[in-house]
């Protein structure tokens, strides 16, 4: 199972790692109980600082996607994040919708795009 980091991505590295792992969990490729490689291994493989990877793992832990067990490393805990406020959940969706509206897409096109993306996500995951 692989996570791809793009060369033209403006997000910080730790955010790319966090989002990439969340994406794999959403698609069902990373399942509950699976172990992630150690911080040292990921940092070595990517050639980045240990702290960068540690921040990504901490964020995943804070959001409830990963449980750090002593001696066992970071283990995927569940497919759903910790309960969050509905407003907080919709905030990134609203930002994305704003971007799409500003880019000149019609409401119909936006709905179509969202449906396509959701279908892709569900197809890759093979669930839900």
């Amino acid at each position: 199972m692989f996570l791809t980091l793009q060369d033209n991505d403006k997000r910080p590295i730790y955010q790319q790692i966090t989002d990439g792992i969340k994406d794999l969990i959403a698609r069902g490729e990373l399942r509950e109980g699976m172990t992630l490689p150690s911080v040292r291994q990921v940092a070595g493989d990517l050639g980045v600082n240990l702290n960068t990877v540690a921040v990504a793992y901490r964020q995943l832990q804070d959001e409830g996607f990963v449980t750090v067990r002593h001696g066992a490393g970071a283990v995927i805990s569940s497919r759903s994040a910790r309960p969050v406020e509905q407003a907080e959940l919709y905030k990134p969706l609203r930002t994305a919708l704003t971007q799409l509206v500003l880019s000149g897409l019609t409401g119909r096109e936006i709905v179509e795009t969202v449906r396509e993306q959701l279908a892709q996500l569900q197809q890759k995951g093979g669930t839900r």
Partner: protein, 325 residues
């Protein structure tokens, strides 16, 4: 051991080493810069038409270095045969390896410095598979190697006779030093290309297992067999030992070395086939890291410098001492 027996053993060693060196030159080394195809020179991406222009000079330089190394080796061998100083055979074989390895590494580093100083940036893939030491290293086997080194020293020290402690120390250093080296080889990694990631990953895994196995055979078990054999001859057998024992130690060590050579040639051909049409790790860099120089990482360089430097020091120290006396 009688003088004629010693000469026989050395001639046997030479007869095994020479064909292997010739095979390595013809089958592996001569066209090594082109192993990734005509778009690369020693794993570094070169522009189209490179081999019609400056590439010719680079190939001539590489071939010149290889010819010089083999030439020195050949002159050394001719000198041994002409002067009949067969006892110089181990020095000749070991000396060639000690000169050859830094020369090849040095040439590759020079190539990187001149041709691949600014490789293109490409997306990188990260494998989310955990690497555990026990998946690559057999700890009971390592424990056995350590125990055999201990047993050899016990036999040498309790043999009650004079022995060459410097050789024994060098062999122990080589055997035990491989263990952290194997650990470094498990740890180190190089970036995976985002294109054909699965194939790159399989190549990386195969390469990691190959080098760990090869170092284990050639440097760990070869030297261990030599050390243990000498210790058994020294500490357990009467003086002079029976003729069968005189041949057994060199025969066993050469058998291990020969097996290592077979593993090396087969493994390298396999890796070459797996890596065909795949972008070599040294030809690109990640958005946040430098390109890999030798397809390995810092932990390996540090270990290799200490381990190889130690071997060099063991060999050079008595020579320097004799020189300055």
């Amino acid at each position: 051991m009688s003088a004629s027996n010693v000469v026989g053993v050395y001639i046997f060693i030479i007869c095994v080493i020479v064909p292997v060196l010739v095979y390595a030159l013809v089958m592996q080394l001569w066209n090594a810069p082109l192993q990734n195809g005509p778009g690369y020179f020693l794993g570094i991406e070169v522009p189209a038409g490179f081999y019609e222009g400056p590439g010719r000079r680079w190939m001539t330089g590489f071939h010149g270095m290889v010819v010089a190394l083999y030439g020195v080796c050949g002159v050394g061998l001719a000198a041994i045969i002409a002067t009949r100083r067969w006892e110089m055979t181990p020095l000749w074989a070991g000396g060639f390896a000690l000169v050859f390895v830094p020369a090849i590494f040095g040439f590759q580093a020079w190539t990187r410095h001149k041709l691949g100083v600014n490789p293109p940036v490409r997306p990188v893939a990260l494998a989310l598979e955990s690497r555990r030491m026990s998946d690559y290293i057999s700890w009971p086997t390592e424990a056995l190697a350590v125990a055999l080194v201990g047993l050899s020293w016990w036999l040498l020290l309790h043999g009650g006779r004079h022995f060459d402690w410097r050789s024994a120390l060098l062999q122990s250093w080589a055997v035990l030093g491989i263990i952290p080296g194997k650990m470094a080889m498990v740890r180190v990694s190089w970036p995976l290309s985002a294109e054909r990631t699965e194939e790159h990953f399989r190549l990386q895994e195969a390469s990691r297992r190959f080098w760990i196995r090869l170092f284990g055979i050639i440097f760990q078990w070869f030297f261990l067999v030599v050390l243990l054999g000498v210790a058994v001859l020294h500490g357990l057998l009467p003086v002079p030992p029976a003729p069968v024992w005189r041949w057994l130690v060199p025969a066993c060590s050469i058998a291990v070395w020969g097996y290592g050579m077979i593993v090396m040639f087969c493994g390298m051909s396999q890796l070459k086939a797996m890596g065909r049409n795949l972008r070599p790790s040294g030809s690109w860099k990640t958005p946040f890291g430098r390109a890999s120089c030798f397809g390995t990482g810092r932990a390996f360089y540090i270990w290799f410098a200490i381990w190889f430097g130690g071997i060099l020091a063991f060999i050079l120290y008595p020579l320097c001492k004799a020189w300055f006396k």
